[in-house]
Amino acid sequence: MTTGVTGWGILSAAGVGPQVFADALHGRRGTRHPIDTMYDEVLPEAQAHVVTDFDIKSHLGRKGTTFYDRGTGLALVATAQALEDSGLRVDDKNRRRVGVVFGTTAGSLSSTMTFSKDTLIQARPYLVNPALFPNTVMNTAAGQAAIRFQLKGVNTTLAGGPVAFLNVLRYAQNTLDRLRADALLVGAVEEFTPHSAWAGRHIGITPGEAAGVFVLERADEARRTGRQVHTELSPVVCRFSPGGPTVDAVLACADAALDQAATTWDALSHSLISGTDGPMAAHIRAAMALRAPRARQLDLEVTFGDCRAAAGVVQLAASLVVGAAAALMVGWSEDGALAAAVVRGCADVRGHRG
C-alpha cells in the first residue's frame, strides 16, 4: 500500500506558496533577505533565508491568531494551502479520520526562552503571560492546526531535527496503513527568530526558515475519489547510528529505502540530502554521485538555508517542483539519527490551487 500526496503548501525564503518556491529553485528569485528590521534584537547576520514580511493576520485574519508564535503561524498558513490544493473537504462525517503529524527540533525556542526569561526579569518570578504558556509545549502548531481546521483525528508531533520530516512521513504511513486515519496533514516548521539565529550561529549552521504541509492519503483511495495524486511515497526507513552518523550508515539506510521502493541507484532521477554540513556531507554527495550517475543532485541548503526540521519538507517540495521521476530523500543528524525514502512519479505542480 503506498501513500500519496494529494495537496501541499509551503512557505520558504522564496516567499509564500509553491510557485515562488519553484522560481527560487530554478534560480529566478533571490532567497537571502536583509533582516535588520525584522527584530528589535541584534542578529548575528545582516541577511538570512527567511520568509519576508510574514504577517499572520493578513493570511488568516485576527480571530484566534493573536497569540500564535511565528512557527505556528507559518505552519497554519501552509496547512490552509495544502487543504485548499487537495480539495479534501473536512466535515462532520470525516473529521475524526483526518489528523495532523508535524515535525520539530525543539518546538519554538523563542517561545520557551522568552517565557523563561520573564521568570528571571519580572518583579515576581510568576509574572509570565499565561496566554503564551501553551506556546512553550512542542505540540502547539499541531494543536492549533487541529483547532483552526477542526481536525479530530490522530494529532502527533515528532522531534527529529534534520530528519524530523522523514520521521513524520514514516509515522503517517504507519497510521494510514493501519487504517487509523484516512487523511493526514503532514508537515514541519522551523521558524527564524533571534533565538534560532543565535543558536544556529553557536553551532555553526546557517539557519533557514520554512514551513511545509502535505495532505497524505492512501494513494489508491485518493485516486478512486477522482482527486489528483501529486506523488507516491515508498516506505520511509528510520534508523539510528550509535556513536554518531557515518557515511556507511547513511548509505546503508539509503540502500534500505531503495529496497523498500523495489528500485535501484541506477533508476534514480534525483537525489536530495539534508543533514549536518561538513566533510561528511561532501563524502555522502560524492558516494551518491558514484552510485547514481544519472541522478541530479539538488543542493537545497544553498538556496533555502539549513531548515532543520523543515529540511525534509524542502526536499519533498523540490521533488514535486522538478517533477522527479524517482527521487531519493536522505537525512541525518549530528546525533546519529538517519532516514531515507524514495518518492516517485512527481507531477508537475503548475496547476497548484493553493
Binding site: 521568570t119 481546521f149 494529532n155 508531533t157 543528524s333 539519527a337
Partner: protein
C-alpha cells in the same frame, strides 16, 4: 500481526527508582512531592514539586557519558537501562537493528533551555554556550536511550506534551505489530523547570502543597519529573528467549479535541476511550481499573470523571491518580501510568489516590481508591493520558492469557 507483551519496567521517580522500589511506593501510597530544590523558588508563593532528589545517572547508565547529555535525556537513558535489566535482556538476545526507542516528552531539555536563558539575560545572545545549544534538540531523549542500549533501530522522540508516553507506547506497539522490530523501549521523560512552575501557577492550576485528585477540595497540580521506560516485545520473541511476561499491551486510542489548547473536552475523551476499547477488543465491562490522567485541577478531573461516566455508566471501575504521589511528571506521566497499570495486573493491587479527604458531590459515581492501596484481581487496565493541544492518548493492558497465545 504479532501480540505485544511487557517484559521490563524502568521507573526513575520521586517515589522510587527501579521496579521494586516504585512498586513499594505505589502500594504504600508514598508521597514523592517536596520543597523544590532544582531551581531557585524564591518569590514563588507555592514551592512544592515532584522532584527526583539525588538522581545519580552516572551510577545507573553504562554506555552514555552523563557529561554529554541533558538531565531529561539522562532520565530517559537511566529508565531504559533499568527496564532492559529488569527484562533480563542481554546484548545477545536481540539484533541491534531489531531494537528501537520511542520517548515522549513535554518540554525536552527544559533545564538546558533555562540555563541558556540565564546566559542570555546575563550576557546577551553572544554569551550562549555552544555546548548547551547542542543539547537542546528534543530528539536527543530517544537517542540517549539508543546510545545507552547500542540500538540501531528507530529512535524517535514524540513531543505531544502530557500524553506523550502513551503516544510513544502506541508507536512502539505499531513497530512490533508490523514486524519492523522485535523489541522496543518506550516511555517518557521530563525535568522540573521554573517556567512550567510559573506557567501553571499563573494559570491558577498549581496546588500549594498537596495534589489531591478527585477530592472535593482539590486545588491543582504539582509539577514533577522523572523517566519511565517499558520494554515491549513481540510475544514470539519474548517466548523464544524465555522472558518473564508482566502483561500484554492490547491496544490504544489516539484523537484530538480540536477544541481548546488547554481545556479538555469531555466528548472527545469519551470517544478516545471507545476507540481504545475497540482497538484492544475489550468492552467497558472488561476494564477492572482505570489509571487516570487525574491532574488534580478542578476542571480536568471533573471532565475526566464525566467522560468515564459517559462510557462506563454510573458504576465505573475504580479510578485512581498516581499524580497524587508523583505530581505531574508531564511527558513521563502516562509512562508511569503504564508501569503502574502493568504492576496492578502482575501483582494484583490497585494503586491509591492519596491526599483524598471528601467525595466530590459532582462525581458521586467515582471510586478513587482513597488513600490506601487495594488488593484486587486485575485483568484489564485502561491508562489515560491527556494533554495541552487536545492530544488524547489511552493505552490498554491485559493479563497475559496463555490460552489466547
Amino acid at each position: 500481526m504479532d501480540r505485544v507483551v511487557v517484559t521490563g519496567l524502568g521507573p526513575v521517580s520521586s517515589i522510587g527508582i527501579g521496579v521494586a522500589d516504585f512498586g513499594r511506593g505505589l502500594r504504600a501510597g508514598r508521597i514523592g512531592t517536596s520543597e523544590i530544590a532544582g531551581f531557585d523558588s524564591t518569590g514563588f508563593p507555592y514551592v512544592h514539586g515532584g522532584e527526583v532528589h539525588g538522581f545519580a545517572p552516572q551510577a545507573m547508565v553504562r554506555r552514555v557519558d552523563p557529561a554529554s547529555w541533558g538531565r531529561t535525556s539522562l532520565f530517559a537513558a537511566a529508565a531504559a537501562r533499568l527496564a532492559v535489566d529488569d527484562a533480563g535482556l542481554g546484548m545477545g538476545d536481540v539484533a541491534r537493528d531489531r531494537i528501537g526507542a520511542v520517548v515522549g516528552t513535554t518540554s525536552g531539555e527544559s533545564q538546558v533551555v533555562e540555563a541558556l536563558t540565564a546566559q542570555q539575560v546575563a550576557g546577551g545572545f553572544e554569551a550562549l554556550d555552544p555546548k548547551l545549544v547542542e543539547l537542546v534538540p528534543a530528539a536527543r531523549l530517544a537517542h540517549a536511550v539508543s546510545e545507552e542500549l547500542d540500538a540501531s533501530g528507530p529512535s524517535i522522540t514524540i513531543t505531544t506534551a502530557c500524553s506523550a508516553s502513551n503516544y510513544a507506547l502506541a508507536y512502539a506497539y505499531e513497530h512490533l505489530c508490523s514486524g519492523s522490530a522485535d523489541v522496543m523501549v518506550a516511555g517518557g521523560a521530563d525535568s522540573v523547570c521554573r517556567w512550567a512552575h510559573a506557567g501553571f501557577y499563573r494559570m491558577g492550576a498549581l496546588a500549594e502543597r498537596a495534589c489531591s485528585p478527585f477530592d472535593r477540595d482539590r486545588s491543582g497540580i504539582l509539577t514533577g519529573e522523572g523517566g519511565a521506560a517499558l520494554v515491549l516485545e513481540t510475544f514470539e520473541h519474548a517466548r523464544a528467549r524465555g522472558a518473564r511476561i508482566y502483561a500484554e499491551m492490547l491496544g490504544y486510542g489516539l484523537n484530538c479535541d480540536a477544541h481548546h489548547m488547554v481545556a479538555p473536552n469531555q466528548d472527545d475523551i469519551a470517544e478516545c476511550v471507545r476507540q481504545a476499547h475497540r482497538s484492544a477488543g475489550v468492552a467497558p465491562g472488561d476494564i477492572d481499573y482505570i489509571c487516570a490522567h487525574g491532574t488534580g485541577t478542578r476542571a480536568n478531573d471533573l471532565v475526566e470523571a464525566r467522560a468515564i461516566r459517559d462510557v462506563f455508566g454510573d458504576r465505573p471501575p475504580p479510578v485512581s491518580s498516581i499524580k497524587s504521589m508523583l505530581g505531574h511528571t508531564m511527558g513521563a506521566a502516562s509512562g508511569f501510568g503504564a508501569i503502574a497499570s502493568t504492576l496492578a495486573i502482575a501483582d494484583g493491587f490497585l494503586p491509591p489516590t492519596v491526599n483524598w479527604r471528601n467525595q466530590d458531590p459532582d462525581m458521586p459515581w467515582l471510586d478513587p481508591v482513597a488513600n490506601v492501596a487495594r488488593t484486587a484481581r486485575v485483568r484489564t487496565v485502561q491508562n489515560n493520558g491527556f494533554a495541552f493541544g487536545g492530544n488524547n492518548a489511552i493505552t490498554i493492558f491485559g493479563a497475559m492469557d496463555e490460552v489466547r497465545a
